[in-house]
């Protein structure tokens, strides 16, 4: 017994010492990147993680950080597991991270209530809770450039255009194949709403997380039901499986449209030549010809400071990781300008993200002009509902199938505001915003 208590005591002491927040060097800020390079979602997660860390490393190498402030960052492996996500969040909090990017809708839902208490901004780029776009209710959560509901409405709008206008949707059957988790269920309320409004029928095909590599039964149902279009909300190993199954079942690939997370290069490649014509909605262009990406290649990847295979630079998910890092870096820059401080803290970061504005000129200066549409986040609108486009897999790479177009923001906003109000009531007492947004 005594041995044990002695042992326990010394272990506790050691632990207490090792978890103390590290002293931040003079001119640096710390960001923890929760990533997943292991587990069933690694196929998507690795590219995202590479893109994020490479861009931050490039900013440190090329510019010496943001206005001379280096970005210290490390990764925390979540394995897309909510338990580990909480652990990473607690770790990030202990180390004073500027911002938390959960990279999982489940983890996002868990940290949203904590963020306002711990005063850590949550940047869930185009995932997480759609209602969080309401900055009045969720001052600490950001989901630029678009919410899932924007994405879904853009897909429906695109389908409407293919059918010769929104009235063409009447009587159509749209299949919805989704990962049966918070992520895949998020768009369903809007989908039902739009179905009622435009008179199309929705057929749901849930894919349980543990069976995502075996979708034979779902695709058998799809073959039986013969939907006119299939919309997919997949992630990780679910995507290549679905595309393979679609090819096997000879589903018309041009009528198979995925959300942006179902748009990995490896996802589509898995379908072979048969995947040609598969579409996915997107908010970033592919390709490695952008000056910033060339800098990453030169300063980080070719210099041996990253494990990224050079061939994956410019792929869809890699570029998306870069976009996430870009938001963080520009958020830091904006916060520095607004506060006049060089080394900012998490509360300043929130201010920076809330006033984030990346216009064409800024994109040109960064070296990513054309890769993303200009974005603007405001106090009241933490998403912005920015333009999207549809990309198409040509058998080898993604190509743009449409120009940038706006999602059905006017349809989404009322439902979104209602959802945000519901969230606040069901989680009462929900903290109110300290500083009210200016009315506009």
């Amino acid at each position: 017994m005594r041995m044990k208590t002695l042992l326990a005591g010394s272990v506790l002491m050691g632990l207490a010492a090792s978890f103390a927040a590290p002293a931040v060097a003079e001119d640096s800020v710390y960001i923890q990147l929760p990533t997943y390079r292991t587990g069933p979602y690694a196929g998507s997660g690795i590219h995202i993680a590479n893109g994020m860390s490479d861009y931050l490393a490039m900013i440190n190498e090329r510019d010496g950080g943001v206005n001379g402030v280096k970005i210290a960052f490390d990764e925390c492996e979540t394995g897309y597991d909510t338990q580990k996500g909480v652990e990473c969040y607690e770790q990030a909090k202990a180390k004073n991270t500027l911002v938390f990017n959960p990279w999982s809708t489940g983890i996002t839902l868990q940290v949203i209530p904590k963020s306002s208490v711990d005063k850590i901004p949550v940047l869930s780029m185009a995932y997480g809770l759609s209602a969080a776009a309401d900055g009045n209710t969720f001052p600490w959560v950001f989901n630029p450039p678009d919410t899932y509901w924007d994405g879904l409405s853009a897909i429906i709008k695109y389908i409407g255009e293919q059918e010769g206008g929104m009235e063409g949707l009447k009587g159509k059957k749209i299949g919805y194949i989704f990962l049966d988790a918070g992520y895949g269920r998020e768009p369903i309320p809007l989908l039902d709403n739009l179905a009622q409004k435009y008179g199309f029928e929705v057929l749901q095909y849930p894919v349980p997380g543990k069976e995502m590599q075996n979708q034979a039964s779902q695709w058998l149902s799809i073959r039986r039901d013969r939907p006119d279009y299939v919309v997919m909300w997949g992630w990780g190993a679910m995507n290549p499986t679905a595309i393979k199954e679609a090819v096997k079942n000879r589903f018309d690939m041009s009528k198979f449209i995925g959300v942006w997370w179902a748009g990995g290069d490896e996802d589509a490649r898995a379908g072979g030549t048969g995947a040609k014509g598969y579409k996915s909605v997107s908010f970033n262009n592919v390709g490695a010809d952008y000056p910033a990406l060339q800098d990453i290649k030169k300063l980080v990847v070719d210099a041996g400071k990253s494990h990224t295979p050079a061939s994956t630079i410019g792929e869809n998910l890699y570029n998306r990781g870069v976009v996430n890092a870009l938001y963080m870096v520009e958020g830091i820059r904006t916060a520095q300008e607004m506060t006049g401080k060089k080394v900012i803290n998490a509360e300043d970061m929130r201010l920076g993200l809330e006033n984030l504005k990346i216009d064409e000129a800024r994109l040109e200066a960064i070296g990513l002009k054309g890769m993303i549409a200009p974005i603007e986040i405001t106090c009241a609108n933490h998403s912005g509902h920015h333009p999207l486009f549809i990309q198409e897999w040509d058998g080898e790479k993604w190509t743009s199938a449409t120009d940038w177009f706006s999602p059905l923001t006017e349809e989404v906003t009322p439902i979104l505001m209602q959802a945000s109000k519901d969230y606040a009531t069901s989680n009462a007492p929900w903290p109110t915003r300290d500083d009210a947004c200016p009315a506009n």
Binding site: M1, R2, K4, T5, A8, G9, L12, M13, L15, A16, S18, F19, A20, T35, Y36, R37, T38, D74, E75, C76, E77, G79, T82, Q83, V86, E87, E90, Q91, K93, A94, T105, G106, L109, Q110, I112, P113, K114, S116, V117, L129, S130, A131, D180, A181, G182, R185, E186, I188, P189, P206, P208, G209, K210, H307, A419, S426, N427, A428, P429, P431
Partner: protein, 358 residues
Amino acid sequence: MFYREAGQYKTTYAADQQIFPIRQDRIGIGVILVLALLLPLVASEFMLSAIAIPFLILALATIGLNILTGYAGQLSLGTGAFMGVGAYSCYKLVTIFPEVNVIVHILLSGVFAAAAGVVFGLPSLRIKGLYLAVTTLAAQFFLEWCFIRISWLYNYNASGAIEVPGREFFGTLITGPAAGGTTRYYVVLAIVVVMTLLIKNLIRGRIGRQWMMIRDMDIAAELMGVRPLVAKLSAFAVSSYVCGVAGAMFVFFYLGASEPAVFSITLSFQVLFMAIIGGLGSLVGSFFGAAFIWILPILLRVGLPALGVDIAAETVFQVAQMVIGALIIFFLIVEPHGLARLWAIGKEKLRVWPFPYA
């Protein structure tokens, strides 16, 4: 030399029947309890929220499984689902009766889990061993399916998740995001200690002995007057009750919000491994097992980079997995009856120390 009961005379029945008959054990337990109470003074928020709280909760879940598998001998793979029943019923209770104290809800939510446990325990009257494991596996899948499909359970939340509202206990916030780590830790500690004590006494008494008789030889037990129906179903009920309370605490005091994936088969296996590594049929083993499976990987993940080893996050993760796997094999080869048995052997050795003979 120091750890010996020589000279400690028992002069009353109460003294003879107490849980820790040896004085040194009582002192040791007292010291551990005091240390546990003092922990928030030295521990950081991370240690409390990410290590201590889930460790205690999972230890309680392991105790729940141990009642069923370790004491009553009924193999179960449905622990995660029973924990889920506790969590979802607690969430429903809290939202339907917001004015009732959340501690009451947490203790009540176990009742629903117990009911589910009894229903899925019925096959145990006919089948045993691995076959029973399969039926509990069915419980796991069926209940998980319910958590996903029955939207009433999560109040029709669009994301299918349950979120924990802030609730007070005598004026202090104990649940929800605004509740501090220290407060939550003390609440969890109190519930876990009290429940462990109750279960210890249950096991030492008539009911626990019935369970062990059923485990050791059910026909003999039946001939001696133990009713298998009552014994087996009560084991399922008590076990599921404890698991349900642990599940409710897991969401309310640790996760803060959860989706059905939390209560998947992975959690069942996690708890089962804790029970096996710790030692089946031992309460202290439940704590050892929970510490081994929960704390050790975190220590490795946090400790390796803190030591200055510069390796990527996913490598740390995989190294930790490999080390844990190797240690599980090592401990099971050294002592198939788990860490609790090692602990017991250590105590035996300590009693005769420094002499190699008694």
